[in-house]
Every structure is written in C-alpha cells, then in structure tokens.
Symmetry: none
Subunit: 132 residues, 2 copies
Amino acid sequence: MGRPGKDPWRDQLEGLGAFIRSQRRLANMSLRQLADLTDVSNPYLSQIERGLHEPSVRVLKSIARALNVSAETLLAQAGLLNDEGAGGAPDAESASARVDTAAAIRSDPDLTDAQKEALLGVYRSYIADNSA
Amino acid sequence: MGRPGKDPWRDQLEGLGAFIRSQRRLANMSLRQLADLTDVSNPYLSQIERGLHEPSVRVLKSIARALNVSAETLLAQAGLLNDEGAGGAPDAESASARVDTAAAIRSDPDLTDAQKEALLGVYRSYIADNSA
DNA sequence: AGCAGACGCTTGATATAGTTAGCGACATGC
DNA sequence: GCATGTCGCTAACTATATCAAGCGTCTGCT
C-alpha cells in the first residue's frame, strides 16, 4: 500500500536522525544531557533522531555545536546540502582584487554589520560564479 | 512572559532576506516568478526577504537552486555555517585608510559590468535606507 | 477615460515544528 | 520487597512556518 515512491524526504530525515543519534551515543550522552546542552527538549530530540520531524536551522546549528560536528557535515549527512547546478565550484579561494573590494565593504562606516554580511555574500557569489 | 532577551536572529534573518532579494533582483525575477520556480508561495517569499520569518532548510535549498547560488552561501547567510570561534582572531583587518566602497566595486576586475551595476544598486539602497 | 495584468504586500486559515507533563522499563540503594 | 533515579518514548498543547485569497498601486493598452 502506500508505495509512495516519491518521498525522499522521509529517508533523508531518517538518515539525519540516525547520524545524530550515533554521534550522541559516541559521546556517551543521554537525550536529556544533549537537550540540556542544546536548549531543545529531549522528547523533540528523540523525534528528530527517529526522523519524525525536520529540525529548523536554529536547532540544527545548536545540535551541531553540542556534538562538535560541523553543520556542513550534518547537512551533508542529511543529503540536504546537494547543490548542483549552482555555484558549483567549492572554493578555489584567494584571488587578489577581491580583497580590496571586500575590505572596502567591511570597513565602510555607512553600513550596518548585517548589511556588510549581505553585501559580501553577494560579492562572493559573483566571484564564485565567474570563476566557475 | 516576555522572553525579553535576545534575538540576534532578527539581524541574521534580515541579512539573509536582503541577500535573497538582491539575488532575485539581479536575475530580474518577480516574487511570483521565483515562487513558481521554488514551489514556495510569493507572499511567504516576500516575508522571508524582509526578515519576518525563518525559512526551513527545504525552502532555503529550493531558493538556492532557483537563484543559482550555492546552498552553502545561503546557509551561511542564514547563520548556520558561520561561527567558528576557534581561531580567535579573525583576519585582523587593518583599519587602514577609508576606502571608497563604490570606487572599489567599480574598479574590481573580477566583476562584470552588469554585476557592478547590481552590486552598486544594492549598496546605494542600503545607504539610502540608513539615512532615512 | 477604462480595463487588463503584474507588481509587492496584508490578512486570516492550516500544517508542522517544538514544549511541558507524564508514562512504563530498567537499573541502583535501602 | 519498595523507593528513587535514570533512560527513551507518547500524548496534548502552544508557537511558528507556510499557504490561498484578496487588496492597492502602477504600468501599458485600446
């Protein structure tokens, strides 16, 4: 009966949950301990670990930090971080002129911090795009 | 009651929203066009762009693909991938002479003319916003 | 003028993320 | 034996993400 075929969603969540659970056990932590570290309730953590819910960015970040794994790893495990057609190239890193513009933005007194972040994000994405 | 305290989330959300909006405009897309590509409703996109809501990972990824930006970039903007308090001192930057941001953008050899235009447009809109 | 049509945005409604309270099972110590 | 502590889990609730419908404005068209 329900052979949905098209719900890769649940599978990804289960993968993510299984990964989190294994990492937690590896650290010899109980659900409640992890809950205490993450400010997320232990029942909810339990549900996440069994793939019943999709944690928000806030919760994901919190878990990643508590378990000492990078958020990228977490998302990769979940299969949620599959960018393809997009920027493609990870990062070659370091050009030359980039520094000038980026530095100018960072030191611009007319921009708020949030605006600097956003502007730098746009700038970086251009560079990445061009070098692809 | 009040949960007074903190939300650095709002700042982060506004940065993310501004980034998405600038990318969408760069691609000359309307909210509805982007909504169509992402399977996210246009009112909700509008609210995300103004920092009123925190989009889920699923939505973020969808937006990233539609806008041809890497998911990593978007997630970093969302505050998931940044932080790293590790090293301590970031790249200590020089508070050297104040550089004109607009000039730096215009003379950047890594940007196409269209990208310069777009970046300057975003920059100017920030300045205008701040002095309002 | 008037009418389409697209634009971005506000307003309620629904699905889902997330919490607090409590259960039964398995260990300890009295 | 019976308390007390933990474990992971379920149930009922609240908060929030997300949607569908509609509003006001600005174009361009005839």
